[in-house]
Amino acid sequence: MTRVGKYHVVLLGIAALILLMSLVRIVSGQNDITSSGTFAAALGFAVPIGLAGLGGLWAERAGVVNIGLEGMMVLGTWMAGWAGYQWGPVAALIAGLLGGALGGLLHAIATVSFGVDHIISGVAINLLGPGITRFLSEVLYKEGTQAADAGAGITTSPAISGKWEISFPILSDGPDLLGKLEATHWFLVADLAGILRGLTHGVNVLTVLAVLLLPLTFFVLWHTAFGLRLRSAGENPWAAESLGVNVYLIKYVAVVISGAFAGLGGVFLVFISTKYVEGQTAGRGFIGLAAMIFGNWRPGGLAAGASLFGYADGLQLRNQGAVTSFFLFGAVLLLIYLVLQVRRLLSSDQPAELVTRGAKQYTTIAVAALGMVILLWLWLTVEKLPNEFVYITPHVLTLLVLLVASQRLRMPKADGVSYRRGEQH
């Protein structure tokens, strides 16, 4: 498939998805499925995950597995909180980046210079991140310090002042045309308006930055000389070395940037909360890593993974009822699948004996049909899911998508390989 073709397929897929969502919204009456609020929340949850994922992408494209994203993110949050309350948001941003980068540097020293197993180093950083920050809080934020007077506690920093939110003029602010359209609840129109408004209203400046980092990463990694070298370090560092590429340097840069991105994810969390709160990363580094793998080590896929997760999380937090519409959603998807299968079965012009009409195919169709019926039944009967099942919506959804999506994941070939200059095994 050519590049343009792929691009079109993606666009078509998105269009079909929105159509489907609109349909489900109308049928279920759950406006939150495409409300601007949901999409704004989705964006807010997707960004830190996406940033962590981007961090993972940079490191792993250069051949270094980074399971330490969580620890680096924690360092980012603490540094942002600490610098932010004293010198404002810009300082918070810089400090958070530095905090994450420091974690990245540690990871780089261990994995690149000493050839330590990447997972071990990452796990150690995941221990160190919370340990060091807690220690720093215990020292710097304890009773009687200036910070404590400014509102710090051992688990929180003082608040950062300053708000960095922007909206798209006219469309989603002031006259707020999109908002008005959304309120009509018209089929498809309101959905599109809601989605657009959610993504443009009251958006944190960091969000814009983070979203821009995706194409930027794509550009740098796939369209510049530096990016080619970086990726070559993840595919075949020995080849790169033999062509005079300084693989060590490249890996160092990549892993430090990786840490900085994870740190930026932390800064984002701090900006949203206006302060550092111990434990506020809540495993997002791991989820970012998962999003990156989900996205096949590519920025676009990663964004899709982070968005899926963010959307599901946002939706479940905003509207537990809407979560049951996923049953309907699944039922409709299964129905489409069934129609396609049956059509293929009937329209085949091959000699009858050649059509792969094994028992297996009938079984799949039967299972799909059964699944559809069950989902529909669930949708019709389940008033309210126990809360515990609502919380896990994003996780279950991620698993389901992974199960259904064909698995042709391809990680960089030398990812996780401990590379030593001049040695090839």
């Binding site: 609020g37 506690g153 688990t155 929180t156 608040a159 709160v277 937090l317």
Partner: protein, 329 residues
């Protein structure tokens, strides 16, 4: 719940009069996960402890458990071995551990915050959060113009459900047809719900968008997000545990905090130490309810001054037993 024990108004009697040798008072306190400096529950307990230090010249020691809370029992033992008596465990998670430690150290007096006494030398320091929350509900419903309110709970544990139950009852007592949105951030066992301002914000935002004009939170640090959502929507919120209009430092957020439901853990802790000094023994519960002002509403900012009568009436009804506030939703 008033597990058949005394209430606080009786407990301290005789405490202040009989002065024990002050230097001998060594009070140990073990925090819940998160430890000191959480600006909330643990810190409130510490305030009480500190007061004992200054007022009663107590020798104090406070310990925080490890992040996974696996060593709560061991902290209690270490305090006991170091000669501390009495020893206080902060948080209902200490219930089991206190019970065991109490049997191992029968000569030492223990207290547990938020859980009932379960041994002869254990005092249960209980708080009638549902009563305070009831008042918060009354205040919210009275102040609400839309008749639509919200509650954000941090972690879906039975403790936080007490807040929910009281709040709902309070609201319904004023407006039986009021709409109340309820959302918890994480399931029981995942305590990140107390540390997720972003989630609190999204949950509250939705409530405000749907027309709620006052949201009550019992979600620790996540409440910050609730206040932010309130500020953005130009609506109101109700804080919890301490007077958050004072503890929250951002001025733009302070103004959205209509009131806070106070839970005087500091009073509980201090009173317990004081009564210990007076020779009180455990085996019963002390309930800090509206009657003894163990719970209540803060008035900083004066936003509920105009409905003071109504609140006082509700309070009186509860104190008099005319109203029994449910502790479970």
């Amino acid at each position: 719940g008033d597990g058949g024990g005394t209430t606080a108004s009786e407990a301290p009697t005789g405490g202040a009069s009989s002065e024990a040798p002050k230097s001998a008072l060594k009070v140990g306190l073990a925090f819940d996960v998160g430890g000191r400096g959480d600006k909330s529950f643990n810190d409130a307990a510490y305030t009480g402890l500190e007061k004992a230090k200054t007022d009663l010249q107590a020798d104090i020691k406070e310990l925080s458990p490890s992040a996974d809370g696996s060593n709560r029992g061991d902290l209690l033992r270490q305090l006991a071995d170091a000669g501390y008596n009495p020893i206080i465990g902060v948080g209902f998670a200490y219930a089991e551990d206190i019970k065991k430690a109490a049997t191992e150290y029968p000569e030492i007096q223990f207290a547990v915050v938020d859980s009932a006494s379960n041994a002869p030398n254990v005092t249960g320091l209980l708080f009638a959060e549902e009563q305070g929350s009831y008042l918060a509900g009354v205040a919210a419903a009275t102040k609400s113009e839309s008749g639509h309110l919200g509650f954000v709970g941090g972690v879906e544990s039975d403790l936080i459900k007490k807040f929910e139950a009281g709040f709902v009852a309070g609201v319904k007592s004023v407006k039986a047809d009021a709409k109340i949105d309820i959302k918890y951030l994480t399931p029981d066992g995942d305590f990140s719900g107390f540390k997720a301002p972003d989630k609190g914000k999204v949950a509250a935002e939705k409530m405000y968008q749907d027309g709620a004009d006052i949201v009550y939170h019992a979600s620790g640090d996540s409440g910050l997000g609730v206040f932010q959502a309130a500020a953005a929507a130009k609506k109101k919120a109700i804080g919890v545990d301490s007077d958050q209009r004072q503890t929250v430092k951002e001025t733009d957020l302070q103004s959205v905090i209509m009131t806070s439901m106070l839970k005087r853990v500091d009073v509980g802790v201090f009173e317990f130490i004081k009564s210990f000094q007076g020779g009180a023994k455990g085996g019963s519960n002390v309930t800090y309810d509206l009657k003894v002002d163990g719970v209540g509403l803060s008035t900083t900012g004066g936003e509920i001054d105009d409905i003071k009568d109504k609140l006082d009436a509700a309070k009186k009804d509860i104190v008099d037993g005319k109203i029994t506030v449910p502790a479970k939703p």
